[in-house]
């Protein structure tokens, strides 16, 4: 089943067009990787999916983004509910300067959960789902900023899972991490895939080829090619894709 369907999406920063007529569909419980050189619009596209991009005043968006059949840019869309459903992990781990517990409990709290016992449960399951529980269970009330970079990133994922999203957007989630932490996040992604629809932007094509089911290649605001990952990386249909993944530019 298609979870996300994007149709004829254009995005402008002022007069400058950053996305050109993008059309793509993403299946439920699958991992889609977005690759392409810096500045090609991957992050911009990703952020149109949870409407983080239209926080920027100069942004104009045209076209359709349907999630579960609902156009998220239609008038009357509840952005808070949307962002609850479509969570985001950023390039640099950005836990709040609070304790580990408070970081994970933040989302449920702002969405109105006050019951202490329930919060504890949510925190525990979220940390377990993010494969972090064993490492932090004895330091839940210590500052999250004391965790390693890789742990911080998994904490951010736990914080996200705690609000009960269905779609996870990840913008270069491992580009600031060491290889071991990167591997852990990749393993986590392949586990989370059973429950969530995941879209990951990555500069690392090998990461894309390892973790994703389908891969989309962006180039200066255009979606050049989108295909099954194994096909795209061994026999891409477009010359531009071939040149990019062979390191001939970008």
């Amino acid at each position: 089943m298609d979870k996300i369907v994007v149709n004829k999406l254009d995005l402008f920063y002022g007069d400058q067009q950053a996305l050109n007529n993008i059309g793509i569909a993403m299946k439920e419980r699958s991992v889609t990787a977005l690759i392409g050189p810096s500045g090609c619009g991957k992050s911009t596209f990703l952020r149109t999916l949870n409407r983080m991009q239209d926080l920027i005043p100069s942004v104009k968006i045209m076209g359709q983004v349907k999630i579960d059949g609902q156009d998220i840019y239609a008038a009357g869309t509840d952005v808070v509910l949307l962002r609850k459903k479509v969570g985001m992990v950023f390039q640099n781990p950005n836990p709040f300067p609070k304790s580990v517990f408070e970081n994970v409990a933040y989302g449920p709290r702002i969405h109105g959960e006050t019951d202490k016992k329930k919060l504890s449960e949510i925190v525990e399951t979220s940390l377990k789902d993010a494969a972090l529980w064993n490492e932090v269970k004895d330091r839940l009330h210590e500052s999250a900023l004391g965790l390693s970079g890789g742990q911080q990133q998994r904490l951010c994922i736990a914080r996200l899972l705690a609000v009960g999203p269905e779609i996870l957007l990840m913008d270069e989630p491992t580009s600031a991490l060491d290889p071991i932490s990167t591997m852990k996040i990749e393993e986590l992604i392949s586990e989370l895939k059973d429950k969530y629809t995941i879209i990951i932007v990555t500069h690392n094509m090998h990461q894309a080829s390892r973790v994703s089911d389908r891969t989309a290649f962006f180039l200066s605001g255009d979606l050049i090619e989108e295909d099954v990952t194994s096909v795209l990386f061994t026999r891409p249909a477009k010359k531009k894709t071939e040149d990019y993944i062979s390191g001939r530019f970008g």
């Binding site: 990386f233 061994t234 026999r235 071939e242 062979s246 390191g247």
Partner: protein, 219 residues
């Protein structure tokens, strides 16, 4: 040198190595068949020795492919070139072994008088060599059309082989004294037929380099 150019350079070197290997194999086959026709034992022995060079070359190519896969982690055509290059080198190495086997037939037969004039074996050999030549050119040009056409020539070889098989069987049934040599010649033609099969395998690899599709040309 920028990484990509260095990589292109190394891929080019790999191609040169494979061409070198292909030409050497071609030469080994030609010499082996010639040693057989002329009952030239000295030539046959030199073929056996020369095969060591082929093995070395194959080891070099294999090493290069492994190193490039590990260091460049290639995708798409680059990846296909390396995987195909690796497999082609293995096929060529086996073809080298088959020419040694042919030379050994020469040695086994020794100076015994040939039981029949050799007509079909040189024909098969000529076909195999032509296939190799076309194949090497198609490999350089990455021309999958030429490769596929080359693979068709294998049918001709197979046909000749079954003719030879029938002929030698008749000879063996008619004269038990000729059984040993007829067997040797049967082996020789069988080796040539196998060489044709390897050529089609190489053609498949060339097609794979071109379009990433796996095709069975060995029909």
């Amino acid at each position: 040198m920028p990484t990509r150019q260095k990589f292109d350079h190394e891929l080019e070197e790999l191609r040169v190595n494979i061409l070198e290997m292909g030409n050497l194999v071609n030469q080994q086959i030609a010499l082996a068949v010639s040693s057989l026709i002329n009952q030239n034992l000295e030539l046959a022995n030199s073929i056996v020795v020369k095969d060591l060079d082929l093995n070395d070359l194959q080891a070099i190519i294999e090493e290069k492919c492994i190193l490039l896969i590990a260091t460049q982690q290639p995708f798409a055509r680059d990846l296909r070139k390396l995987v195909a290059g690796f497999k082609i080198s293995i096929y060529l190495e086996r073809m080298g072994d088959l020419s040694v086997d042919l030379a050994k037939v020469t040695i086994r037969i020794g100076q015994d008088e040939l039981i029949k004039p050799l007509v079909d074996i040189p024909r098969m050999s000529a076909l195999v060599q032509e296939m190799i030549n076309i194949g090497l050119k198609a490999y350089v040009d990455e021309d999958c059309g030429a490769a596929a056409e080359m693979a068709l020539m294998d049918d001709e070889i197979d046909k000749i082989y079954s003719g030879v098989f029938g002929e030698l069987r008749t000879i063996m049934m008619e004269d038990p004294n000729k059984v040993t040599q007829a067997n040797y010649l049967l082996f020789a033609s069988r080796f040539l037929e196998r060489l044709g099969d390897y050529c089609t395998n190489i053609a498949e690899e060339i097609v794979y380099i071109c379009n990433g599709k796996r095709m069975d040309l060995n029909e």
